[in-house]
Amino acid sequence: MTPTTQTSTATRGRGGAATAAPPGPPASRTRRPRRWLAWNFLAPVAIYLVAFYAYPLYRNVELSLREYTVRSFVQGGAPFAGLDNYRTVLTDPAFWPTLTHTLVFTAASLAFQFSIGMALALFFRQHFPLSGTLRALILVPWLLPLIVSASTWSWLLNSDSGLVNAALGAVGIDQVNWLTSPGWSLTSVIIANIWIGIPFNLVVLYSGLQAIPVEVYEASALDGATGWQRFWSITFPLLRPVSAITLLLGLIYTLKVFDIIWIMTRGGPTDSSATLATWSYRLGFGNLLPEFGPAAAVGNLLIVMALIAGLVYIRIQRKQNLR
């Protein structure tokens, strides 16, 4: 609630609470029953938040702090293990490579998705004939179920019968084992993820561009600014809030990308494209004998990473608002 509405309802409440029920929520002396009413209105969302966010989160933290075996998972009585699961995960030889893959995957995906999305958004701002149709076409990756796009990519990148290798072969380049060589698998899943992420960046940045007043551009044109100057001095600074939220949402989404990698490479070969998300899944569900504790610990590390990014975003935004 903004300060203005608060004062207005407060004044109205003081004057007319005893008479017929005024429109709007009055904050008056009949506070207690009103508050109960308020809580009742809040209840659905509160219950929803607790049941679907707070409790699962709590359970996940609890899972990661206990030493669960399949036996204790079913029979109960898993001993409290403190940070043992985190220690197991952090000292696992797979941890650092996996973390590096996660960071490289996220950074590369974001950089390309954002810059290509931005370029396309600027391009479509020109409103040329058929631009609407073309823009709709570029949204296709977003509309496809991930299982479809990931399977399609894994067919395209198939070593022996993939279209990409056939095309490369036509210009005399040897077979590249996109998905089956440790050197290429991470690159391949990044390429697929960039393709899937471009539409999101395009849409958000395009709508951000609509909000920039045309007059600013007209003024700059009169001052003789070049296209390049217009971009760096007008578009980019004015688009900063939109860019920031695009990048933050992209970051949170990319950190936890699982389906594309799992479908295309299963994180392999030899964990060369494994990220924290696929590792967590493998620990928890990818084996006949689930290791719930370490799986939950890896999941929590991901949550913490996303949380830090969120806090950094809020901080940056607060600074901007103060300015």
Binding site: R71, L146, L179, I263, T265, F285, L288
Partner: protein, 412 residues
């Protein structure tokens, strides 16, 4: 983890919404057991609708036991998690049909009754199939049918390359056949070496066929088996894509008609009839000759632990009905499985001579969790499939890969 449900695995992956809160799913509760009259049956055959023979059989068995049967079909991979969660919540189904290696996991969790408790008769079952459901001298379920792996071959292609499939009895003659096929301009063999349980499942016939044991992943025999596969890739007998192949994609490669051989399972028999070329099957040869022991696939019928132990008697009747000889024949024909009972196997082979190879393969097969490995198997299998991937992708030599695998397996 094998069976006709493979092709739905990708769909399952999509459905399992893994987010950063992976473990959180544990809090959701499954459908509770309903009123006393209805008995719950969970199976991994979602391909069978309510009007299928399988469901009709379930209903019939329910009627003869004097109860109604409520059946739910789950995806194989999904069912393991579902069963564990249900056990945790204390609302397990009365009868649970699961993939055989899962039995030892569920038994470890204390979620299944033993045959001593539930009075099931397992005496007619073949010992090598029953093995997967046994640990520490106790039996936790009855096999409902078995499948295993063999080599499918493209008859036309072998004729053109001048290879006689009956001459293939060991690794040397197999590799010689692959060389001839390559010389004739075709591709040799396709299999699945993906980095999941499926990859281990496909590698095991070669691993066991070399004389290696799962307790010693880095033995010289094991290295020879992995070297066989690695050399096939290096020499171009097998495509590089096997590293990422599931058994379904491997089958699709074979179905193109470009490949002479494909390692695949009983469950492809129905698809094999739809191939555009005549096919045949041979047992996977062992290193020194003769059929190699392949791992057994297929499901077990088990009776999960209930609070109301009085329910076991009726559940036992249901399971006994499902696994009597006549009903096994119906079920295993529908699933294109081999029956777990010798007498029924004879009847199957008599009805369809093509099944003879498969009956022999199943008789030579071994349970993955057998040899009292139980829940140690998953801890061996994961390093094993990782080693296969490392060697095939060239990241490590077969020796290095398996030495590392053995170190991981013992460290756990």
């Amino acid at each position: 983890m094998t069976g006709p449900s493979r092709r739905r695995r990708l769909a399952a992956v999509a459905v399992i919404a893994l987010s950063a809160v992976a473990g959180a799913a544990c809090s959701s509760s499954a459908d509770g057991p309903s009123d006393g009259g209805a008995y719950l049956v969970w199976d991994p055959y979602p391909q069978f609708a309510d009007d299928s023979e399988w469901v009709a059989l379930l209903k019939k068995c329910g009627t003869s036991a004097g109860v109604t049967v409520e059946r739910t079909g789950y995806d194989t991979t999904d069912l393991t998690n579902k069963a564990l969660l249900a056990a945790q919540q204390g609302n397990s189904p009365d009868v649970l049909i699961v993939d055989n290696p899962v039995i030892s996991t569920l038994a470890e969790a204390g979620a299944l009754t033993t045959t001593e408790e539930n009075k099931l008769d397992v005496s007619s079952m073949e010992a090598n199939l029953l093995g997967a459901g046994q640990r520490d001298g106790k039996t936790y379920g009855v096999p409902i049918g078995a499948n295993t792996l063999a080599l499918y071959y493209n008859r036309d292609l072998l004729t053109r390359a001048g290879v006689d499939p009956t001459s293939i009895t060991d690794w040397t003659s197999l590799t010689a056949a692959l060389t001839k096929v390559k010389a004739a301009g075709k591709k040799g063999i396709t299999f699945s070496a993906i980095g999941t349980e499926e990859g281990s499942f496909q590698f095991l016939p070669w691993f066991w066929g070399s004389g290696a044991q799962l307790t010693g992943l880095d033995s010289p025999q094991a290295v020879s088996a992995l070297t066989l596969w690695t050399d096939w890739l290096k020499q171009g007998h097998a495509p590089n894509s096997v590293i990422n192949n599931t058994q379904t994609t491997s089958w699709q490669e074979f179905a193109t008609g470009d490949f002479a051989f494909a390692e695949n399972g009983t469950w492809q028999l129905a698809n094999a009839e739809k191939l555009g070329f005549p096919y045949g099957t041979i047992a996977i040869p062992a290193s020194a000759g003769g059929p190699a022991p392949a791992p057994t696939g297929g499901e077990f019928v088990s009776i999960p632990v209930q609070n109301k132990t009085a329910r076991y008697a009726t559940s036992q009747k249901l399971v006994a009905c499902l696994t009597n000889a006549d009903n096994l024949l119906t079920t295993d024909t529908t699933l294109s499985y081999v029956a777990p009972v010798a007498a029924v196997q004879e009847r199957q082979a008599a009805a369809d001579p093509k099944l003879k190879v498969w009956v022999d393969a199943v008789r030579a097969a071994k349970g993955r969790t057998g040899d009292n490995l139980g829940t140690k198997y998953p801890k061996i299998s994961e390093p094993l499939w990782s080693a296969v991937q490392a060697a095939l992708s060239g990241a490590k030599t077969p020796q290095e890969a398996l030495t590392a695998a053995q170190a991981t397996a013992t460290a756990r």
